[in-house]
């Protein structure tokens, strides 16, 4: 009976492991299927950290179960020393030193990776960086292309293998988090603040992004589509967006400031110059926001 239980336990652990393994391999596991350099580096870091930690955790768990088994009260052959409480100063120091070494290695890696994958840090590339400004609104995402003079709602398109420099802020919405899991980790968007994010997609593809910080009723629906295409497709899209009927005038922007959920993808053929700066700066003002 005991051995049956034991075998069942091992089977349960194995099937749990297999289930996790196959789930992480499926295409639905966004984090394990990165499509851009930043997300890929972040995944590699996750892997490295796990391997390092397992070097301590696996022996610890084996020791836990082995010692518990060996020194069970029923085992009369095992030594019993009720006064044993120390291996001396040196013995106890070793227990501090082992985790310290692992943590030192992890700290070194972390320091390096944190600076390497800093969202403030521009990506190196021969291709010219594309600038996109992002405004988190209640509950939708506005993307402004300052150089192209266009804007889009809940949809962003950019060329692949090109560094993209997002500058993010928010307006009339609480704190938000901009997360595009297959391309990069998240960063907060706050009114009156600018946060940066640099990404680069490997190839063409369509990805879902979402708001990751609770921000009210429309939280779950605050998603957007990010499309990375070839350069020429992107240029075609810009030309197409320039044909759009709507322009992002002051009045149209005021409409956007009203809370709404599940807004359709919209393109704006013209954006007033300096709109993004105006959106950020109005929170710096001592008088009520004019816009």
């Amino acid at each position: 009976m005991k051995s049956i239980k034991f075998v069942l336990g091992i089977l349960a652990i194995l099937s749990l492991g297999f289930a996790v393994f196959f789930l992480l391999r499926s295409e639905n596991a966004l984090l394990t299927h990165p499509k851009g350099i930043i997300a890929r580096s972040e995944l590699e870091l996750i892997g490295t950290n796990y391997l390092l930690m397992l070097t301590v955790v696996v022996p610890t768990l084996i020791a836990l179960f082995w010692i518990a088994w060996k020194y069970r009260a029923k085992n009369t052959k095992a030594k019993f020393d009720p006064e044993h409480s120390s291996h001396g100063i040196f013995g106890e120091l070793i227990l501090w030193i082992i985790p310290s070494i692992v943590i030192a290695v992890m700290a070194f890696i972390t320091w390096h990776a944190t600076h390497e994958l800093d969202p403030y840090k521009p990506l190196k590339s021969d291709v010219k960086t594309l600038k996109i400004q992002v405004v988190a609104l209640d509950w939708k995402w506005l993307f402004i292309y300052p150089e192209e003079g266009i804007a889009s709602l809940n949809f962003v398109q950019f060329p692949d293998s090109t560094p993209i420099h997002f500058t993010l802020s928010a307006d009339g919405s609480p704190m938000n988090s901009f997360w595009l899991p297959q391309l990069s980790g998240q960063i907060y968007c706050m009114s009156g603040m600018i946060t940066p994010l640099h990404i680069m997609a490997d190839g063409p593809g369509e990805y879902t992004g979402r708001a990751a910080e609770i921000n009210g009723e429309g939280f779950a629906d605050m998603t957007f589509v990010a499309k990375s295409t070839t350069r020429s497709d992107f240029d075609d899209w810009v030309a197409f967006a320039k044909q759009a009927d709507l322009e992002l005038t002051d009045n149209n922007y005021k409409e956007l400031l009203k809370s709404s959920i599940n807004d359709p993808v919209t393109f704006y053929s013209h954006v007033e110059e300096g709109l993004f700066d105006k959106i950020v700066m109005k929170y710096m003002h001592p008088t009520p926001p004019a816009l």
Partner: protein
């Protein structure tokens, strides 16, 4: 006039939807049932004299335990509602609206942290801190009663929204600004959050001060700091954290209240307010709070492992320093809760490394527990099962924690269900499993009989399996890009089967809880077979086992003199000498003042939620008058004469 009388409460705020009507009906039915029971058995006076007004830490401890168990059911129902919604809501809205769903997860988090885990720990501390240090009561018995009743007032207020208002905060358990500010949350929900946590937070602070002073001042002669049991040490560390961190919470919530009541702009995004400051302040309390929750759990495991290995704890000095270092470091890591706010690589790296440093003392503790079993004779009673389960899931959760501590990795898993899985693993492992280990271990001390072992082990397996079935999917969901707090999602994400698996896991956990309830019932029925006549059923090592089970109301007839660690173990080794010389014992008198003050505090909190100024004044003045009255009461102690002690002791030893 109605504005003056009722503040901003209107007819629409009374119950009119299914969950408020249901909640109100439940509350009223419970009150009626209790009232009928008390009247039938004529126990009103008994309840008031023996329990409610008691200043005996053992009785307050029991009341804490019962209150936290009641709140646990509330939190558990919330958890079930959340997972049911998430199991249903692929490409549909499920059965809850977004706002209602958000209120439930907010309430679930706050209730589990403030009212369940903290309440249960205060219960155990009330019992075992005095017993373990050889004291008769706490340093401030009245403060203990007041702290408990403030905690109850907070618990009452957090449930009162069912009856008045129908809305709790829909912001997440820490109510981050600007979402919790006036602009985005003008209703009463956030005010219920502020005032119920203010009351219980004040209660926690008073309890923290009380336990700290008790441990410093009331130890038995000879018990130096380095001879204290480890549960007392971790409690001491936990109280240091409470005293340092809870005032930050009180101040932060007060500032948020200024924002909301006087329309100030401390944390708003407009008019020079700083929304990010709120994150800093709330997490300066919030991270130490995590260690307030887990440190006492670790202390209990230290007691359990040593007792059931029938051996000294390995590396006592290391264990103490590990706890102290964790206490210190826990104040230096708050920023890791918002690497994603964009503080920059240098700042993020600093906090990442302080975060990782905590893993060192934590690892040392785990090694020491394992080495305590080494060369021991380990008896596998159910507390040891909880311990083995704890170490397993705690190391797995700890790995996830270190991963979250690394900023670039955190950018991907922050705010995701991976994070949710991580902190549930840690709190369930250390706090819940620790509580159950401690509860099973100390149960004979509470009641005089041990718990049924067979059902205890069955409950453990249900909890452990339920844990893996519910939380493994959450780790995976995090990697599938699922953020926390989603009330619905697209079916194409492929998340639904995993959410359903999680719900199944919760059902298994509930089976575990039902088993524990049955365990108590069966144990009470079989109490004559399982009676603990010696007071020391586990061959224990610390002073609480030197008393009878349950201990007399004065704990120790003669205060023991301590010469070593594991004091009772040494006494047993050297042969116990029966005491015959008794002295008069001074004990604190019962007082209802804690109840009166807390009742006025509850009125004050309720009035502040609804902006009923006259009622707030009544509450505040009431509190002040009660405190003045109490401070003029010199007659707060009574004496048990030596002859009476001798009589009680003689009847106890006769059995």
């Amino acid at each position: 006039m109605s504005n003056f009388l009722f503040g901003r409460m209107t007819r629409e705020d009374l119950p009119h939807v299914w969950y408020t009507i249901g909640g109100t009906a439940t509350i009223i039915c419970m009150c009626i049932a209790i009232a009928v029971f008390l009247t039938r058995t004529k126990r009103w006076g008994w309840l008031w004299r023996e329990w409610l007004t008691s200043t005996d830490p053992k009785k307050i401890g029991v009341m804490y335990t019962i209150a936290s168990a009641v709140m646990f059911f509330r939190g558990l129902i919330d958890a079930g509602m959340l997972w049911l919604q998430q199991s249903m809501a692929a490409d549909s809205q499920g059965y809850l609206t977004a706002g209602h769903f958000q209120e439930i997860f907010t309430a679930h988090g706050d209730i589990m942290v403030f009212f369940v885990v903290m309440g249960f720990f205060f219960g155990l501390m009330n019992w075992f801190v005095p017993l373990q240090i050889g004291a008769r009561d706490l340093a401030y018995p009245f403060l203990n009663s007041l702290g408990f009743w403030l905690y109850v007032a907070g618990a009452a207020l957090i449930n009162m929204f069912f009856i008045f208002g129908g809305h709790f905060a829909d912001t997440g358990w820490l109510a981050p600004t600007p979402l919790s500010g006036l602009e985005f949350n003008p209703g009463v929900g956030v005010d219920y959050w502020i005032w119920s946590l203010q009351l219980s937070g004040l209660g926690s602070l008073l309890a923290g001060i009380n336990f700290m002073v008790t441990i410093i001042k009331k130890r038995a002669p000879g018990m130096t700091l380095m001879k204290m049991p480890l549960f007392v040490w971790t409690t001491l560390c936990s109280t240091v954290l409470i005293i340092t961190a809870f005032p930050v919470l009180t101040a932060t919530m007060f500032l948020l209240w200024l924002d909301r009541f006087f329309d100030m702009h401390i944390f708003t995004s407009t008019f020079g307010g700083n929304q990010m400051m709120y994150f800093n302040l709330i997490w300066m309390w919030g991270h130490p709070e995590v260690y307030i929750l887990v440190l006492p759990g670790w202390g209990m495991f230290s007691e359990v492992v040593a007792a059931f290995s029938q051996k000294k704890i390995f590396g006592y000095v290391s264990m103490v320093w590990a706890a102290i270092i964790i206490t210190f470091l826990s104040f230096l890591v708050w920023l890791h809760h918002f690497y994603t706010m964009g503080p920059g690589a240098d700042v993020n790296s600093f906090f990442a490394i302080t975060t990782m440093l905590i893993a060192i003392p934590t690892g040392v503790q785990v090694f020491n527990w394992i080495l305590t079993m080494y060369k021991g004779k380990v008896i596998f009673e159910s507390p040891m099962y909880w311990f083995m389960g704890f170490v397993t899931i705690f190391t797995l959760g700890g790995m996830a924690g270190l991963l979250l501590g690394s900023p670039p990795a955190d950018f991907q898993v922050h705010n995701s269900l991976f994070l949710v899985a991580h902190f549930h693993t840690m709190v369930m492992g250390a706090a819940i499993f620790g509580s159950f280990a401690g509860y099973t271990y100390w149960f004979p001390k509470f009641t005089g009989f041990t718990l049924n072992e067979r059902l205890g082990k069955r409950a453990f397996w249900l909890w452990l399996i339920g844990f893996f079935v519910s939380f493994t999917p959450l780790y995976v969901l995090g990697f599938m890009g699922a953020t926390r707090r989603l009330d619905h999602y697209a079916a194409s994400t492929g998340w639904q089967p995993l959410f359903i698996t999680s719900t199944v896991g919760l059902v298994i956990i509930i089976c575990g809880i039902v088993t524990q309830i049955i365990q108590v019932i069966v144990s009470v029925r079989e109490k004559n077979q399982n009676r603990d006549t010696t007071g020391d059923p586990w061959n224990g090592r610390t002073l609480e086992w030197s008393t009878s089970s349950p201990p007399p109301f004065y704990n120790f007839a003669v205060i023991p003199t301590v010469t070593t660690r594991d004091a009772y173990w040494e006494m047993k080794k050297n042969g116990l000498k029966p005491e015959t010389q008794y002295a008069d014992i001074e004990l604190p008198k019962n007082t209802g003042m804690g109840i009166y003050i807390s009742a006025f505090a509850l009125l004050l909190g309720f009035a502040m939620v609804w902006y009923i100024i006259w009622l707030a004044v009544v509450g505040l003045v009431g509190i002040i008058i009660c405190i003045i009255l109490r401070s003029f009461d010199d007659d707060t102690e009574y004496v048990v004469p030596a002859a009476e002690v001798a009589r009680i002791e003689a009847s106890r030893t006769r059995g």
